[in-house]
Symmetry: C2
Subunit: 203 residues, 2 copies
Amino acid sequence: MHITPTAAGVRPRVAGDREGEILEGVLDVLEDVGYDKLTFDLVAAQVKASKATLYRRWPTKADLVLGAIALVKLCPGDDDVPPDTGTLRGDMHALACTDGELTSRLPDLMTAVIPALHRDTELTERFKESFVAPRQKMIGDILHRAQQRGEVAARADLELLAAIVPALAMHHTFVRGQGPTEAYMRGVIDDVLLPACQAALNT
Amino acid sequence: MHITPTAAGVRPRVAGDREGEILEGVLDVLEDVGYDKLTFDLVAAQVKASKATLYRRWPTKADLVLGAIALVKLCPGDDDVPPDTGTLRGDMHALACTDGELTSRLPDLMTAVIPALHRDTELTERFKESFVAPRQKMIGDILHRAQQRGEVAARADLELLAAIVPALAMHHTFVRGQGPTEAYMRGVIDDVLLPACQAALNT
């Protein structure tokens, strides 16, 4: 196991690559059995770590699962800064492509976590805070900049417009049983989002 | 318990109002504990019926749950015939309003059933067949008629357009934790679906 260098008397902590490995293992367990049936025992067996190691870094199951989901959300060079290509279409295509790569596991995770959200208020709030809100903010930022450039009408409902791409991606996943392709996402942007933005502009 | 009249030697069956009562009870249990934890014992206790009574009519848990979901889908005078008001906007508003009334329990049910869909292939297929497909077909029929009237371009992707309203309704439910209002659905139709249909018309 990889451990960080520690001062005398300080317990070793899970860090760096090993943390990533463990959270990958959490994703595997989550996709396999769902949130309700995920236990520290299952994760410990999956990643060949002691439960004590897990508990030190992630005191609760919610911590563990949200940590794993955060891992999926991140990708190299992304770091939550939305694309800025100069056009709404360019920004959204850049985001959807990025999303396509980094969130290939997202559909399975959503179906694994959503039922728990339904019954666990604390998890729901933390999930929205750490996962839904940053994504919404990123698309919201893109739409806001587009609005300032005159690509979206001042009176448009940005919250509704911001929901279009994630909503259709989620729906596609549920209906087809697999995440959307990049081509599908481009169709959603070009044939649904942009017309909705332009319609708001013309009225 | 209501039972149907039976010939001598034939076991009484669950029927009519009592069937509806039982399926309502299934919905209650489903919303409460989710699909995975729903058992014939819990349902029997909820509806004050014997498990034998339940098994005779619904041999498996999937039968019971899909029966209950079918109940929610139906409403008086609806019976799976899409509205036909003469305009796309009129049809979709009629459908969304109808949906708003008849599917107030739908969001909770979706979150209760979706995790099971993730792990149960047979349930997934039957769910799509009995629940997703008829709804998609209804919106598809409306869009097809609109296309014939010239309200939607011949080259438009009807499948993508048909997904807009259910996708945003589902997304709203997950993000806000409650089903969409009628006003929200009208916004989705007027500000997203119709512009997407009209954009396809002009290109």
